[in-house]
Amino acid sequence: MSTYVGEAADAPKFQTAAKSLVADTQVRHNVRHATEVIRAKRAKVVGEMADWQELRESGHEIKEHVLRHLDFYLEQFETACTAAGGTVHWARDADEANSIIVGLVKAQQAKEVIKVKTMTSDEIRLNVALEAAGITPYETDLADLIVQLGEDKPSHIVVPALHRNRAEIRQIFLDKMNLGELSDRPEDLAAAARVYLREKFLRVPVAISGANFAIANTGSVCVVESEGNGRMCVSLPKVLISLIGIEKIIPTFQDLEVFLQTLPRSATGERMNPYNSIWTGVTPEDGPQEFHVVLLDNGRTKVLADREARETLDCIRCGACLNACPVYRQTGGHAYGSVYAGPIGAILTPQLQSMEHSQTLPYASSLCGACYEVCPVKINIPEILIHLRHRVVEDGDAPWIEKMAMKAASYVLESPEHLDRARKLGRIAQRPFATNGVISHLPFGLDAWTGVRDLPAMPDESFREWWVKRERETGR
């Protein structure tokens, strides 16, 4: 079985990709602007909630509870959804999910599908599979449309085109929508998308969605959105296919009372997003008359098996950790080489891929903890990052210089005598490099450190040496 996460397996190392992206001042400007706006809005609407910490705690506990009983809740969801007229399919990996969905679209003899923002479909490269089968997918979320028409990749979980500014978006729309004229005012760009997609909403017979929540006790599915493209996709076509990762299950309808408070405030800094659609199976005379759910594993059960990293699956994809992350805010999402960027991407991507790839991602962090602080379901991302770094080392894939340094450190710290000797040796060894108590350039292999910061030189006398001398002199 092969598990893949978008193109992540072929992506360059984070450090390599980040270097060139950090040099792109336009992208950096766009990313910084967007993340600053969302952070300020989020801080305001989170600040007005007297019970924010209690909501975070409950959200975390509900999700952890689901994971402990996931087999039960998956079966309960299947039973309820089926009883309401839906059909539930199960997909072990990306290829299986793609072939199920392509088969369902082909059964309708449809040549086109409309899609509402689903990261999971990007994860399994669904659009590639659809196109290979002669089916044209239309992304309908404005940002996804910008990414699709620009033949680009998403760079943020919630705002996938935040690396683009209005001038770039105007050019993409002019090139791809057959428009004579178009200004770069956001209102006009949104209106162009409205006209471009309206005809497709009314005509295309099959839609593909993701889900924010799949509710076990009622079999309902909830899609959270802003533009109305989600409502269009889940309400108008004859057939609706929802691709749902198995971790998206929540036990009861009641539990929405927690997540519908924490998700919009964390994701876009709104008290509530403009639209939530909740539906259960098929409703006679209203909406799609054929409804399919594809429950996707694609590596999630492997994450589940790692007790220390399991809570990665609590994620409700709000993107708050991306906006808060000092690393993401410098590099943008493309450096992560995955549809899941930022801190959550740095822990999710390598785990889904069973650590074969994306091994540099757990290092794409300064472990400052900002991601944990803003997470609405309290995922301890820094702790999982450290755990995954440990796994990378255990797998024997740490850089040789790090392994040598760690071996040396363990010898040096073994006994006071070793430490003393190493100190004396170090004082001699640093002479060619130290100036005025500072080392600015280390030789090859160690220059990665001094390339971006100075190292204080070792002092002529250590505390221990001073102490021994003092005792000798005072005769104590």
Partner: protein, 211 residues
């Protein structure tokens, strides 16, 4: 070869070391120390709801019971509209003379050509300015409140609850009926994080708040 379903469930159980007992008791013990019930007076609750609606860019008309038709007429004059679509069971008493109202049943294309839609709602949530549409007879099938560019919605003060948990408590009673929560007109901030009112859903939302 076992089915994908069986295999995934087996992987889940393997990952967790078998099925875990005590599910129901464990679920009941989940801490829920957040605020469930609101504490505002009816007037404060209404003001909060209106404040939120204004924040989203919706317009609010204050009506008394029995004056709904007059306010519908005013809203239509302000918006320069002559006709609206309405759901099957919308009260006749809400419809003013001098305008055309069409009961639902039209094709998507016809709905798309309409000037707008008038609906009631199932409930509303003050804290988030949310209006909940239950897509049963009174509140119209989903397409009707979605495709037109103008949505005029009648909300009774007695339908407004304060907190999200209070709202969900009511919504779960009709969980099997499709529902939509609406917080202002459709919007996007996908371009440079500038909020643009109106993308695919109705670009204008007017609310008649009946006390």
């Amino acid at each position: 070869m076992s089915s994908a379903r069986d295999e995934i469930l087996e992987r889940v159980r393997d990952a967790m070391g078998g099925s875990t007992p005590g599910r129901e008791a464990e679920y009941a013990a989940i801490p829920r120390n957040y605020i469930r019930m609101g504490s505002l007076s009816p007037a404060e609750k209404r003001d909060l709801f209106v404040d939120r609606l204004h924040d989203y860019g919706a317009t609010v008309f204050y009506s008394r019971e029995g004056e709904v038709a007059a306010w519908v007429a005013d809203a239509l004059k302000i918006r320069q509209k002559n006709s609206l679509l309405i759901p099957r069971d919308l009260p006749r008493a809400w419809l003013p003379e001098g305008f055309s109202f069409f009961r639902e049943g039209a094709s998507y294309e016809e709905v798309d050509r309409s000037e707008g839609v008038l609906t009631d709602c199932a409930l509303a949530i003050a804290m988030t300015g949310s209006i909940v549409l239950r897509h049963s007879a009174g509140e119209a099938r989903r397409a009707l409140s979605l495709i037109p560019d103008y949505h005029l919605c009648v909300v009774f003060g007695s339908q407004v609850v304060e907190t999200v948990p209070e709202g969900i408590e009511q919504m779960k009673a009709f969980a099997e009926i499709p529902m939509t929560t609406i917080a202002g007109p459709s919007a996007t901030a996908d371009i440079e994080m500038i909020r643009v009112k109106g993308v695919h859903g109705p670009r204008t939302l007017d609310v008649i708040l009946v006390s």
